[in-house]
């Protein structure tokens, strides 16, 4: 087992990894930017090194400084958390080349799955359903028209290098197709320097369901059931829950097994998430694999009792998984609300600043994963999440009640948070009845343009 691990991240996920290390008797090394000197991850780690100035590009994204910190700290392994360098196959490679285990999949698996076309092909090979679409890039307009007819309208045009909605267009009819295609190409070229696009069937208001999988280097692949992350605003997840409140039991087993096939087929080790969209008839389609631990991993931990970060560390150290598929039981229902320093009244404008006073919710069924404290200043340089409020109760109804209670008792004075917005979502009939999809928040809460 590792003696010492460096955490190449900040905020709550840095704390999460430090906590796992401490419980395993592993020394932890934090890195931090000058803006994070008062951060809890710096205080709680066994050692901490400043790696640069506030902006991520000058600190948390600087390979050389992070590797140098790993050398100075004399660590065995590096945990990348999520965001920053977590899905950077090159950094992954550099870590290993420099003699540090990277706690995540191999650079090869990361790279393959990071490319959407390759990932899609792998899904098809492994009998994992994908959204009907073009096999690879669209060569020219006439092929596009043909393929779109096969797929059936509406069709979605997507940039192969894309992300965040850039280079994405919907064509409702054949008349829209050619103009939409050229817009998408131009946007993709401008944004990513790669104008390659592909087509697929447009699924208007899907649910987002993802399956947590973990694989060791001994050929064991185990899923830890699914999460529903359909409460999103502009593709940003706001609320996640496990298990899915709306997937029929037989579909649930199918989607989990598909995810295991995908991970096994990719020769993937460590924790990964297989993302799907689910249409109104409960058909599911593979979207992508997130080759890292995810923000919302705690809901899975709550229903399974499995510590995912410790499992990541064990697997990276070459140990076999300490559980088999049949050991994983799903007990109760868990919900996570991402508490962001944003003003929901002002279009979710970031609200960084000093937290003058804080009351952390507690009591039965409540978990709060956060790096903030009363007197802490939320810096403006990083993402606005200040904590994850997680509840676990025997039923979804009880979990919602506990979450609303916990949101209500949380006090974060000095900055504005999204807690009040979450409370509105949690009492909306669509959410309560689990009839919501990924367009729910826009439809129900955001001002229509």
């Amino acid at each position: 087992m590792f003696q010492k691990i460096l955490i190449a991240n900040r905020g709550e996920i840095a704390l999460r990894v430090i906590r796992a290390c401490r419980e395993m008797g592993i020394q932890s090394v934090a890195v931090y930017s000058q803006a994070d000197v008062d951060s809890m991850h710096v205080r709680l780690a066994d050692e901490a090194y400043c790696v640069g100035t506030a902006k991520s590009i000058d600190s948390y994204l600087k390979y050389d400084q992070i590797i140098a910190a790993a050398e100075v700290g004399n660590v065995d392994a590096i945990h990348p958390g999520y965001g920053f360098l977590a899905e950077n196959a090159h950094f992954n490679d550099v870590c290993r080349e420099s003699g540090f285990e990277f706690i995540g999949p191999s650079p090869q698996a990361m790279e393959k799955l990071g490319d959407k076309n390759t990932a899609r092909s792998m899904a098809l090979e492994n009998n994992v359903p994908v959204v009907p679409g073009s096999d690879g890039l669209i060569e020219n307009d006439s092929t596009a028209v043909e393929i779109a007819r096969e797929i059936g309208y509406p069709v979605l045009i997507k940039a192969t290098a894309g992300g965040g909605g850039k280079g994405m267009r919907v064509a409702e009819t054949e008349d829209d197709l050619i103009p939409a295609l050229s817009q998408a190409r131009n946007e993709a070229q401008a944004a990513f320097g790669n104008g390659g696009v592909y087509l697929e069937r447009y699924i208007g208001a899907p649910r987002h369901v993802e399956v947590q999988v973990i694989a060791d280097s001994h050929g064991n692949v185990v899923h830890l059931y699914e999460r529903d992350c359909s409460v999103q605003r502009r593709h940003q997840k706001l609320i996640e829950e496990a298990p899915s409140p709306s997937l029929p039991p037989e579909r649930r087993m199918e989607i989990c097994e598909a995810a295991v096939r995908m991970i096994r087929g990719a020769d993937y080790t460590n924790a990964g998430t297989v993302e799907f969209i689910v249409d109104a008839s409960d058909n599911f389609y593979f979207i992508e694999v997130n080759a890292r631990i995810q923000v919302e991993h705690p809901v899975t931990e709550m229903i399974t009792g499995v510590d995912l970060i410790k499992s990541q560390i064990r697997v990276a150290a070459g140990e076999p998984l300490p559980f088999k598929q049949e050991d994983i039981k799903c007990i109760g229902h868990a919900i996570e609300c991402r508490i962001n320093a944003e003003n929901p009244e002002k279009n979710f404008m970031p609200s960084p600043g000093r937290i003058d006073s804080l009351f952390v919710p507690g009591g039965l069924g409540v978990r709060f994963d956060s790096h903030v404290y009363g007197g802490y200043t939320v810096p403006p340089y990083y993402d606005s999440m200040i904590g994850k409020l997680i509840v676990h109760r025997p039923t979804r109804e009880q979990a919602i009640a506990t979450m609303r209670r916990a949101l209500g008792e949380m006090r974060v004075e000095g900055i504005t948070t999204t807690a009040s917005f979450h409370d509105r979502v949690l009492q909306h009939p669509e959410f309560v009845q689990a009839r919501h999809d990924t367009k729910f928040v826009e439809r129900a809460f955001l001002p229509q343009k």
């Binding site: 803006a35 790696v51 000058d58 590797i67 100075v72 600043g353």
Partner: protein, 160 residues
């Protein structure tokens, strides 16, 4: 002091805008929105955040939210002196090799190009230039100790 009040000056008068901006900065204004007939001046300061970043966190010698790599030297809290700060994480070496003399010691007179130490990181021995002129008055780190970004290495009495 203010000349910006002249009613006849254009809304495009940069001098006046500068004054308003200074006011905004001094008094932590987020927004100024002025209108007179069709004339309008509206100024928004991006983040209320500039105010937040500064206070407790940063070591006083390093300016707050500087994004280009900061100067190696920074003003010190001791008057008339600056510190030479470490520009990277690594291991600090006072000497080019174990048997050699230190690059500098207390009393050494330095100019901006004087190599004051080596910081080793990833098997690379980086020579660190002083980037200031003056006299070394204190060596702040022991030889072969780990140092990280921004760590003060030497105190320098600057040339008047």
């Amino acid at each position: 002091m203010s000349k910006g009040g002249k009613p006849d000056s254009s809304v495009f008068d940069v001098e006046r805008i500068r004054e308003i901006v200074q006011l905004m900065e001094q008094h932590d204004l987020v927004e100024v929105d002025l209108q007179e007939g069709d004339d309008k001046i509206k100024l928004n300061r991006g983040a209320t955040t500039a105010a937040f970043a500064a206070p407790q966190q940063l070591p006083p010698q390093v300016p707050a939210a500087q994004s280009p790599p900061p100067p190696t030297t920074a003003e010190s809290d001791v008057e008339g002196t600056v510190t030479i700060n470490c520009p990277m994480i690594g291991t600090f070496y006072l000497k080019p090799n174990p048997k050699a003399e230190p690059f500098v010691q207390v009393g050494s007179v330095i100019n901006p190009n004087t190599v004051v130490c080596i910081v080793e990181a990833m098997k690379v021995f980086n020579e660190i230039p002083a980037e200031c002129s003056g006299t070394i008055i204190e060596v702040l780190v022991d030889d072969q100790q780990p140092v990280d970004f921004g760590k003060p290495l030497f105190r320098v009495k600057v040339n008047a």
